[in-house]
């Protein structure tokens, strides 16, 4: 759900050169230093779009830029934003009192079944199963972020 919002943001950012390789452009925009390795030419960020549009007809562009479908890469910041976004949407949590270190049971006054619902919302958000043995230990948003970063190999 928040992933779709992020995907739309990425698509709207890359729309001028959507025809070429929008996914690659988004990855390149996120990691600018690695872009120079991929292409033989080196160009500044603001002239990137004009260069792309200028070389739209050469077939070598299709060879050099691979088009893969993938989500934007996860960073600790994006994981934390998505976790807090999902938690703010939950109606039993007061969004003003929510912080990354707020304990679900002690600070926010939630139940164990509420915590199960929150973990299920995180599963739906990030798209992978969280087994109950580890899910019952995740009691703050910070711990959830750490767990997801461990599982998704987001280096801290």
């Amino acid at each position: 759900m928040a992933a779709r919002v992020l995907q739309q943001c990425v698509r709207s950012f890359a729309r001028p050169s959507l025809r070429l390789c929008s996914g690659n452009l988004a990855v390149r925009a996120a990691a600018a230093p690695t872009a120079a390795l991929h292409r033989p030419l080196s160009f500044a960020a603001d002239s990137r779009r004009t260069r792309w549009l200028g070389q739209s007809r050469t077939p070598s562009v299709g060879v050099l830029c691979r088009q893969y479908g993938d989500l934007p890469p996860l960073t600790l910041e994006t994981i934390k934003d998505r976790v807090l976004y999902v938690l703010k949407l939950y109606d039993k949590i007061n969004p003003e009192k929510l912080q990354t270190t707020s304990h679900f049971m002690k600070d926010l006054g939630l139940d164990s079944l509420d915590q199960v619902e929150i973990i299920m919302a995180m599963e739906d958000e990030f798209g992978f199963e969280i087994p109950d043995a580890e899910a019952e230990k995740l009691m703050t948003p910070e711990e959830i972020v750490q767990y997801i970063a461990d599982k998704k190999d987001v280096y801290e």
Binding site: S112, L113, V116, E117, M120, D132, A133, E136
Partner: protein, 128 residues
């Protein structure tokens, strides 16, 4: 002498019994959480399959209400038995062995609550 009497009393009250599934309270609570997850994920499918006139949110609140009714239980065997009954209900709901009326029976729509305070009972009739 008082201490041996106390230990004998303690040994009498806490018998060691054969567990049904879980050995301690934590395992039993884990089973409860698994059952709650399964019911939570099943509610939208139930509402669609039986064409119920309730929203998913109402269905999930009803599931939470049924789980909260037994929140006070501490005996792992009783919890296991309740989980087994919940699983049976879940199986019947998933496979559509129930009908719409059986599912809506949880909502007590046509039952009137019995009056509790004195004046309501007085107006209702002579039933004590």
């Amino acid at each position: 002498m008082a201490s041996t009497a106390a230990t004998r009393a303690a040994a009498a009250t806490t018998k060691v019994v054969k567990p049904i599934f879980s050995r301690d309270l934590d395992e039993a609570k884990r089973r409860v959480r698994e059952l709650y997850r399964a019911w939570y994920r099943e509610v939208p499918n139930t509402v669609a399959m039986f064409q119920l006139d309730i929203t998913t949110r109402q269905g999930r609140n009803k599931v939470r209400e049924m789980f909260d009714k037994n929140k006070h239980v501490t005996d792992p065997r009783v919890i296991d038995m309740l989980v087994i009954k919940g699983k049976m209900e879940l199986q019947e709901t998933i496979h559509v062995w129930k009908q719409k009326t059986h599912v809506m029976r949880y909502f007590h729509e046509t039952e009137e609550a019995r009056p509790t305070d004195f004046l309501s009972k007085f107006y209702h009739g002579h039933d004590p």
